[in-house]
């Protein structure tokens, strides 16, 4: 079995600040990490590698610094790593991003494509499903658990708003994984020692199977009109009282607002 996992490098914060003037993300001084959902996707792939000897390739699109998460993936145990980096990819919205990633995946052999549910900086949850559309393969999003019959069929527990569904799907297919699906393994010391001896393949737009007009800024129909940080909520009221009295105040406030 061959698996491709799409991983994204994101700033390590759930509260990314935006530049109020340009509307872009302020990334300075924020350490970069592998997107949490993607790390769980990677763990899923590595579990399939442990059990079924799957070959795991990680793929990312980003600047040269994104190499760091590919080295981390090597230290966790992946077989192959590809970095899509090219000025022609720059300024991509989700559509252009998914076109680039799908263009790369088309040149690879795969039975399963794994993406995270969503990236903690962009938060759109669009890229995974779009890749499946470009590749014209079935997709199952919000994966909580996956079982493989060792042949062709996956049985997937998929989270929904008020419960879950169990679905069966045949390979090749794409899944988007939730960070709660598993506990990603730690890198091993040996993996770390070897991570920099392995080759990260650097691919430009020429290496992938996609029309150049669909890439980067040119291929991005999204126009950010305005981006803003949510206004601060009112400070609330502070009471410095003992516990008994505090309970009384809380109860009366909640009753006042018809919450209890």
């Amino acid at each position: 079995m061959k698996i491709v996992v799409c991983i994204k490098q994101v700033p390590d914060t759930t509260e990314v600040k935006l530049d109020p003037v340009t509307g872009t993300l302020i990334r300075d001084g924020v350490p970069s990490i592998m997107n949490p959902d993607d790390k769980s996707g990677l763990e899923l792939a590595l579990e399939l590698k442990d059990k079924f000897n799957a070959e795991v390739t990680v793929l990312t699109m980003g600047p040269m610094q994104a190499e760091a998460i590919l080295r981390e993936a090597f230290a966790m145990g992946v077989d192959r790593a590809i970095l899509l980096t090219d000025r022609r990819f720059a300024g991509a919205d989700t559509l252009a991003t998914s076109n680039a990633l799908a263009g790369a995946i088309k040149t690879l052999e795969y039975d399963l494509v794994i993406a995270g549910r969503q990236a903690i900086d962009g938060d759109t949850a669009q890229v995974g499903p779009q890749i499946a559309e470009h590749l014209d393969i079935p997709q199952v999003s919000y994966l909580q658990n996956l079982e493989y019959d060792g042949n062709k069929t996956f049985t997937i527990k998929k989270q929904t708003e008020d419960g879950y569904q169990i679905v069966e799907v045949d390979s090749p297919c794409l899944v988007t994984v939730l960070s709660t699906a598993n506990n990603p393994r730690y890198m091993t010391v040996k993996g770390i020692m070897e991570a920099y001896d392995k080759e990260v393949e650097i691919w430009s737009a020429d290496k992938i199977d996609v029309d150049e007009a669909k890439l980067g800024l040119k291929g991005s129909p999204t126009k950010v009109k305005k981006a803003f940080t949510k206004g601060v909520k009112s400070a609330g009221e502070v009471y410095e009282v003992d516990t008994e009295e505090a309970i009384g105040i809380i109860i009366s406030k909640l009753t006042e607002k018809f919450i209890i």
């Binding site: 080295r71 091993t188 020692m193």
Partner: protein, 379 residues
């Protein structure tokens, strides 16, 4: 020496910090309180390769450096001094002498299982009457033709109850003084070998510190480690390396106390402001931080020299001396900044203060480190 950390070291720090934060920190207070050996942590560390960092891959190790190993002990000790010494004694005092002095058969037999954490290692040099004066060995190994017969006892042996492999130092020829001392590998369960009383300690309370008792304990001929009569110098060289581990442990404890103190002084308010706003706090924190960083550079430089294969015993002595005294000073001040709260077990600085003291004592007291340093200076 390159002051930049390498890319592998950076990746390693990312891993070890995540690991210590999630797997070790949450149980540190509990294993101290219950005087419980953290066996589950050893298993987890074994899987990740933390129990055999500087062992070459051909012997089942990780092919890591002493620098990465010392970073591991530092980061682990930053949250738990007990777990730090478990790794340090195992790696520096058991794995290292086998790696550096063992025959190919000994390396193949012991290193893979020690590196995977399946087996834990220990080192027995100290005896009731042979502490700082380690040459006063009473334990005797008699050459009985096809085997050795060991008699005597060791005290204060780290990892004792849980170890499978022990490096034991014993006299083989009383007439030869230090040249009549040899080293042996003794396996758990060897008839005539038992574990005696377990110490109740001030700090590193989760680590098992016990007596080893040998009563006509027969060990195979091939378990002599290194050459006959070379055991004393083997032990001294082993301790040179071990001091990097203990220096890293002391450094980690000091850093852990710094982390807690910086956080606390920013939160705790008296006289209407955070105590971090008082200049006394600021100046003392500055001094503490400077000493911690100086300790780190001494540790890094000793590990760097060991990796390069150049003499490092004076560097290791300085690193251990300075880091241990810094750990004592920083943890003492950490409690002071926490006031009464710091004296209670509500805050981790109380445990860190108790854990720090041992770093001035084992693997050569601070006085011994001063002897090593001045001895080199005045030779």
């Amino acid at each position: 020496m390159d002051f930049n950390i390498t890319k592998q070291e950076e990746l390693f720090l990312q891993m070890i910090r995540e690991f210590t934060e999630k797997e070790i920190k949450p149980i540190a207070a509990e294993i101290d309180e219950q005087e419980r050996f953290p066996i589950e942590t050893v298993e987890k560390m074994g899987k990740l390769g933390i129990m055999g960092i500087p062992v070459p891959k051909e012997f089942g190790g990780q092919g890591g450096t002493n620098q990465i190993y010392s970073m591991a002990v530092e980061e682990i000790s930053r949250v738990c001094g007990t777990t730090g010494v478990v790794v340090s004694a195992h790696t520096s005092l058991c794995i290292a002498p086998i790696l550096e002095n063992g025959t190919i058969e000994q390396k193949q037999k012991y290193l893979p299982k020690l590196s995977s954490g399946e087996w834990i290692g220990a080192f027995g040099l100290t005896e009731p009457n042979a502490g700082t004066d380690a040459a006063m060995q009473q334990t005797f190994a008699e050459d009985a033709g096809d085997k050795w017969i060991l008699n005597g006892s060791k005290i204060f042996i780290t990892n004792a109850e849980y170890a499978h492999v022990y490096i034991v130092i014993a006299m083989t020829d009383k007439s030869q003084g230090t040249k009549g001392i040899s080293a042996f590998i003794v396996e758990k369960g060897t008839p005539g070998f038992t574990i005696g009383k377990k110490e109740k300690k001030l700090g590193i309370r989760g680590s098992a510190t016990c007596e080893l008792i040998f009563e006509n304990c027969e060990i195979p001929k091939e378990n002599l480690l290194g050459r006959l009569g070379k055991g004393f110098s083997l032990a001294m060289k082993t301790l040179d390396g071990g001091r990097i581990g203990i220096a890293a442990q002391a450094l980690g404890i000091a850093q852990g106390a710094m982390d807690e103190t910086v956080k606390y002084t920013k939160e705790r308010k008296q006289f209407g402001k955070a105590i971090a706003k008082f200049q006394n706090t600021q100046f003392q924190l500055a001094d503490m931080e400077t000493k911690v960083q100086a300790s780190r550079l001494l540790v890094r430089s000793a590990a760097f020299k060991k990796d390069k294969g150049v003499p490092y015993s004076v560097d290791a002595a300085m690193a251990k001396l300075f880091a241990a005294e810094t750990a004592m000073e920083v943890t003492t001040k950490a409690i002071q900044f926490h006031g009464g709260y710091g004296y209670t077990r509500e805050y981790p600085v109380e445990r860190m203060f108790r854990d720090a003291k041992i770093t001035e004592i084992y693997e050569g007291t601070s006085e011994v480190q001063r002897m090593v340093i001045s001895g080199n200076l005045l030779k």
